[in-house]
Symmetry: C2
Subunit: 106 residues, 2 copies
Amino acid sequence: MIETFTALSEPNRLRIVELLRDGPQAVGVIADTLGLNQPQVSKHLNTLKKAHLVEVEAKAQQRLYRLDMQGLQLIDQWLDRYRRIWTDRLDQLDDVIADMTRKQEE
Amino acid sequence: MIETFTALSEPNRLRIVELLRDGPQAVGVIADTLGLNQPQVSKHLNTLKKAHLVEVEAKAQQRLYRLDMQGLQLIDQWLDRYRRIWTDRLDQLDDVIADMTRKQEE
DNA sequence: AAAGAATATTCCTGTCAAGGAATATAAATT
DNA sequence: AATTTATATTCCTTGACAGGAATATTCTTT
C-alpha cells in the first residue's frame, strides 16, 4: 500500500498515470506530452512499475508503457475496508433522523 | 489528490488511518497504541487533517480524531475514472476469446 | 493562582527523493 | 561496422520531510 500511495503522491507520476488512461504510450511521447525530460520520465516510470501501476512492453527500441490494473485494484480493495464504515455512518444518520421524527410525534 | 496520496504514503500515517477504522481515538491513545511519541502523532494527525482524511473533536483537553470520509471518497471518485478501463479490458478479453472460439470452429 | 492533564508547535538534524546533466545500453538502419 | 533512434542508469545537488527534544498552548482540577 505504501509503495502504491508513494508512487502516486508525486505530481508528475500522477500525471503519467492519468495520461495512460487513454492507452499505452512510449517514453518519449510521455515526456513530450508532459513537458518533462526523458531521463526524468524513465525514472518515474520505473517507480510506477515497481508499484505495479504501469507495465512495459518492448517494441524495437521503443518501450510502450500502459496501466497495470494491479496497483489500482489494490487501492480499490483497500478502500473496501472503509466502505462499510461510510455505509454504517449513513445508517446511523437514518437512525438519528428516525429518532428525531419519533420524538416530534410525541 | 496529491495531498491525499502523500498523506497516506507515510507508514505511520497509514497506520493511524487504519486504527481509526474502529472509531475515534484521542492523540495519546493513538500514540500508545502505535508506540509513537505524542508530538510525532500530533504532526501526523495535522497532515491527515489537512488532507481531509481525519477530523477532530475537542473534548476538554482531549482531541478525539476520527476518520473524515471526504478524503477517502476523493480516492474512490478518482478510481472511478479507472474502473471503466479495467472493465473495458475485460470486454476486450471476451472479444479475444470469442475470436479464438470462432477460429477454432472454422 | 498553581498544578496537572493533554496536546500543538517550534527548532534542529539527518535522510531521501526529484531534477539536471552526462553517459551507458538496447535495437534498428545504413 | 558505423550511425541513428530510443531509452535506462548513474552521479550530483538540493529541497522536503520525518523524528527527537523542548517548549508553548489549551483545558480542568485543586
